[in-house]
């Protein structure tokens, strides 16, 4: 089942730069692992902002929460969640 996840990244200006870099590297690794597992179906950068637009495909709300709350950048993320379903005008079945 699909969720739109809109994530804004807010790094406090006085955070430890090394910690931040380490979390960013871990985030990238985790994001790619989840894409390969088919869980993170779409991942786009919002042009001009430190933010992304994502579509996640999970089996339950437990999995959704586990996936998001263990992201290395989670403490810096402001996430908005929107549940998605098949649109009656959508041609492709694969989207649902």
């Amino acid at each position: 089942m699909l969720f739109l996840a809109q994530m804004e990244v807010v790094i406090p200006h006085d955070a430890d730069p090394e910690l931040v870099e380490q979390r960013k590297r871990a985030e990238q690794e985790r994001a790619q692992q989840l894409q390969r597992a088919g869980k993170w179906r779409h991942l786009w950068r919002v042009a001009g902002r430190y933010a992304n637009v994502s579509v996640l495909d999970v089996d339950s709300h437990e999995e959704l929460h586990e996936l998001l709350s263990t992201l290395p950048l989670f403490p810096y993320l402001d996430i908005t969640i929107t549940p998605l379903t098949r649109h009656p005008s959508a041609l492709s079945d694969a989207e649902a």
Copy 2:
């Protein structure tokens, strides 16, 4: 180039029901035509709302505006546009 388009549909309660039905049918036809043309890349219903989440793939802002402003339901739509670009952690090149 990709845009996230989030569309809320607001039908005035005293609109002519026949006109509304006619526009809905024309909207569906147009949406499917644009999907077949590869312009309307993703189309999801927001669960529980008369709203959709879309990803559009156009060649210019002119084309984006032409596409949206000629939708049969345009007079009833409140549209939010977000320009998207490739995310550095995205695995697939096809997304950009």
Copy 3:
């Protein structure tokens, strides 16, 4: 899987009173049918507002959308959806 649904009812002042009454009666019938089916797990009135707080238990986003968009009062509802999951401090398993 559980969703918090917060619904505000906004009846246009110039709506046909008979139509509104008919929809209210149908809404009550449908709400009780969904409660008996175990889909509408909780239903509270917000004190002082024409609004309710609900917890819905559905198997998919398709079912969530079908359930909400076919409510007789749907054209007058402004609905906010929040996906819920088990809280690590919750004692009861039944909640998840």
Copy 4:
């Protein structure tokens, strides 16, 4: 009498990690104690956010304030309160 309590947890990034952990443990203990006492009737995690949705059952506003303001995480909580009452379409008497 019932209240919906929606709580967002905001931990300042430069808070003392030991203090935070200690408060989280105390919070869990207190939350479970209040559930056992029948005061914290429902407790759900908001999927994807460090937040919860709760339904509290108290005898007075004094008890509501005492309950919330003595939560170990209270200094980090942003709480929205909504008074609930029985819905005319609710089947179960136990909800009120």
Copy 5:
């Protein structure tokens, strides 16, 4: 138990003037009846707005909802409810 109720009155410009006048007269009568009964403890006009600030004293959320939702002007009211309790610095016991 006390609630702050902040009420904005919004009369649609094309409402039937006679119906509005009739509801206003009934509202005044009802408001005074509730004041005499000790339920509507305080009632102030907001200077410069068609709005009031009220403090209501009710025994339950059921009574609060019954009181507000049967006000003759209820269809035109936008009401914000805030539960109040005794302030630790308040001198008078009568306030709680």
Copy 6:
């Protein structure tokens, strides 16, 4: 003349605890002094929040500003002011 004052207290998490405690004690003393003087007519706690709802009775805007801006907790307060007047449906003259 009466003003509704709605005060939210926001203590920065890294403020000096001793300074905060000292200001809280001074605030309580001042609040009670102003109640005894008839200036702070009503003072309620908002249930579940570090906030209060107050009604102040002052002779001028100068007095209102002097009263509020010299509160010991003023640096931590976010105050919303609403001028009140007699409501045409109010029974008691004493309110105005």
Copy 7:
């Protein structure tokens, strides 16, 4: 005592044009009468909006409410009120 009053004028598009014109003429007459009486101390148009910024000088909240609520355009006005007082850096005593 002085109040800043910021007024937005919103004329419903289907209001009776004659009624609107009549109210505008009456409004102008009343506004000038109040200026001559020294009650409406300042009156500016907001450039580019059907709105004004005003400073009113009244003896009480009753007078403020009477003055505003009897304006011929009051049913179309959205008014924001801010109580003003002498600024410690102001040179002129006449402002207070």
Copy 8:
């Protein structure tokens, strides 16, 4: 002197279509006349919305208000005004 003007066009769905068309034609004529006069320096469509972004060059606030409030579509416009000045990093003097 320059102003950014952001204009949203909101046509009521039950406005007289002929009146609207007539105003749109008059608006276009007026907009081009003001461009030729050097007053309407920039005029862009917001892609996907019935809205524009404009930069106006006027000699006074009177002229700004006269220009905007006499636009044929003014009754349907929601206009946000931002005063602009030369940016210290701007290369071109012509902008100021």
Copy 9:
């Protein structure tokens, strides 16, 4: 030409107190100098807030920006600007 300037002062709680005091003294001096020069036409305190309402009279947007951005408290100010013009119902020419 006239501008309404609404200024909120937000002093970070951990700012250097001496620096703040020094800036406040310099601000007062500068504000009075600008009043004497006829540039700062009106200056009021918002009752109950660390904020002011001002009317500035400048010859250009450059002068407006220069005036505001060199205020000693500028780093702590949140300023909202509204361009003003003569109101058609204003009696006094001196206001424009």
Copy 10:
């Protein structure tokens, strides 16, 4: 293709002043380089705010994001992006 970019600059009060100054100088250099390259088509200061209004001309969303996210002041910027297109009433072709 054109984008309106509205940038607010928020410098944390406890940022290292030398770092800030260095970034401001680098920002100015970069802004002028991008203006000379024809990418930063318009750059205005918002009068009275530490903010600018810009029009950017880029070939893709990738270029837009690269341009903005590498600005030396990017960590302090809150940027709002609006895609622009040719307005049907615009006289000049050069704008599109």
